[in-house]
Structure formats: C-alpha cells, structure tokens
Symmetry: C2
Subunit: 202 residues, 2 copies
DNA sequence: GTCTATATCCCGATAGAC
DNA sequence: GTCTATCGGGATATAGAC
C-alpha cells in the first residue's frame, strides 16, 4: 500500500481495487445505507472525485462490491456443499450455506439484497452470481432429470433459502441461542421436505 | 385539502396524514431509495423543516408509511384467503396474496422490505404486521395442532412466500407472460407441498 | 403548538488544471 | 489519473412569526 497522508499527491497503482475493499470496510462498519463514495475516498486519502476515474458513480462501485460478495460466497460455501454425494443433501447444504452467509457476512449479503442495487444493470454481477445458481441447478437436474420440474424445484429452494435468510436478518430468530444456525438448519430441513415432495411442485 | 400554493401560510389540519400519503406517492413514482423528506415537503408546499414537527426524521415517516402498507396488505388479501374452508388452501391463498401484494403494490412492499427500515425500532410497525402473522398462525395451528410444528411450518411458508416475492421483484420471472401470477402460483404450490410434507419440517 | 426562514454540514457529480 | 473547485440537493438544528 502506498501513501495515504495528506501530503501524498498520487495514491498507488490500483486505486480501483483499494476502493472496493475500502467500500467493503465502510459498509461493514456503518451499513450499506450509510455508505458513501466520499467516505471511501477519505479513508484512502484521495480526493472525493478520484473514484470517478474508475467508477461512473456510487452504484457502479457498489456493483463491484457485489461481485466481490459473490466471490466470497462461492469460496466459502460451495466447497462444503459439494462434499455430499447425494444431490438432495447437496441441495440442503447449499440452502444452509446460503443462510450462513447471510448471517456471518451480513454486510456483504446486504450489498446483494438490501442495497437497492439493480443487478440487471450490471452484467458483471449477474456473471458473478452464476456459479451459485449453477450449483443449485446441478442438484435439481440430478434430482428431477431437468426441465420444468428442475426449474420449479430450484425456484422453491432458492426462495426458501432467501426467505429464511431475510427472516434471520429481520431478527425473527433473535430469541434463539444461535440464530444463524437455527435459521440455517430450518432452511436445510425445508429443502429436504421440498425434495421429498417435489412431484407436487409443478 | 387546504391550500398548497406558495402564498399559503398555513397548510391544513392534518399535515401528518398528508405527509404519509405524499410520501407514498413520491415512493411510488421515484422509488424508496430516492425518497426524501424534502421532496415530500415540496409537494405539499410546506417548508422542509415542517415535517420535523410530526416526525423525528426520515425513518419515522417511513415507518408511518410502513404501517399504512400493512393496512393495505391486510385489507386487500386477508379477506380473499379467509374464504377457503380448508386450512391448507387458506395458507396457500395467503402465500399467493403475499406475492401478489409484492407485485401489484411494489412500492409499498419495498417500503416494508427494501428500504432498510429497522422494524424493531418501531413498535407500531410490528403491531401493524400482527394481523398478517396471525392469519398465518391460525392456519398452521389448525393444520398441526400448534406448538413447535406449527412454528416451523409457519416459518417455512412465510419464507417461501417472501422468497418468491423477492425473486419476482428481482426480475427472475420477467420472461413469463404474467410474472406476478406466475410467481404467486408457484408460491401457492410450494405452500401446498410444504403442508403435505409438514411432518418432515421439525 | 404549527409552520417559516435560515444556516451548517455531508454527499453526488461535473469541469478543468496538473 | 488525480486534484481543486464548484454546484445542487438533502438532513438536521435553531430561532422566530402566528
């Protein structure tokens, strides 16, 4: 890392990357809603206008953080799921991981789903999401043989995982000793139930 | 409604209520993220500081809009569900209504779930939510006899409904002829599947 | 008790110098 | 590629008119 002092004229070789990680820090400390380009700039000791050389605006930087969030997500939870030989167990492990990610990496999860970021506007974000949806897709294909049945099972499981994550972050399980694990286990169980009754889905 | 022209000195008898409905309008037109106290004030022809006589800040006004959102939600979808004699069908109708509300009253739904509003800080919001969770609770109690089984079924169905709503708003079903009904039907079906396999849940 | 006027501070965004 | 300067807008606090 190069100079951040006020005397420094130029920053370093990779302001772009530095901004992404500074943004992630700010968001972790103060929440997505209170994140600002200006604050990220201040931390790096650069002018508030410096980010505009790398990002068209606040949303574009947020999108870059979102890409990072999906990478962390994948690195942290896809390996754990792939251990299970049974596709139903694998799917349940994915749902569990999804909820754990929400609970353990709350700020990153909020960038993805609570920041109001319109992912459709950013193809990079969609691309970063793909390994995750592919993991779901692989399991449901193995379970259903593909087609419409696969699609509706995937939809159901993703919805269940997301819904439990949201309820966790909403504080619905705050009376539990370990809210994160509680929600994660529930999502896994619901997934198993959906797998068992998949012929009813579509 | 009283005068809104620039010449007017006072506004009317109920600035508080006027602010809530103006806020709902602004949000409908420009989205929750772009909502501001100043914009709502401008529409009513009052000074930017006027709202502070009724609300401590932006979040407090947003909370009032959230209460309104839950009222609309209840008025619009609870009656439809209560028609069904079978508790499983009733639960499925609730899930369907939940997703329809998200799709048809998107701005209000976003106030509830996409505005970053911390509902725990506002007891009024929690109270306004109660009729809705009671409706879910009544169905699951009828199906399971209450207790932990009721709680986990309720959790699963709410998560499924919320998850499908979120995927709908995320554009996942945009290639469908009627995305709202498509998502609503899926949520209803998933609910029926969860009811059928409820002994696996908890 | 309700609203206006005003002033400060922070943020997003742009233009032009180095 | 970065800085300085600047504009417009929103949040917020205070003082005062009615």
């Amino acid at each position: 890392m190069a100079r951040a002092g006020k005397g420094g004229r130029y920053h370093h070789g990779d302001l772009r990357a530095a901004l992404v990680s500074a943004a992630a820090e700010v968001i972790a400390e103060r929440g997505v809603r209170n994140f600002s380009l200006a604050e990220a700039s201040r931390r790096l000791g650069v002018a508030v206008s410096a980010p505009y050389a790398h990002f068209a605006g606040r949303d574009e930087l947020l999108a870059a953080v979102a890409v990072h969030a999906y990478e962390v997500f994948g690195a942290e939870f896809l390996p754990a799921a792939s251990q299970y030989p049974d596709p139903g167990d694998r799917l349940a492990a994915l749902a569990r991981g999804y909820v754990r990610f929400a609970g353990r990496q709350r700020p990153l999860f909020e960038v993805l789903f609570g920041s109001g970021l319109d992912k459709c506007r950013f193809p990079e974000v969609k691309a970063a999401e793909k390994p995750l949806s592919d993991a779901f897709g692989e399991c449901v294909d193995a379970l259903t043989g593909g087609g419409a049945a696969a699609e509706s099972l995937a939809s159901a499981v993703e919805a269940a995982a997301h819904g439990h994550a949201m309820m966790l972050l909403d504080g619905e399980y705050s009376e539990q000793p370990d809210p994160v694990e509680f929600a994660a286990e529930r999502a896994a169980r619901v997934t198993q139930a959906l797998v068992a009754s998949r012929q009813l889905l579509g």
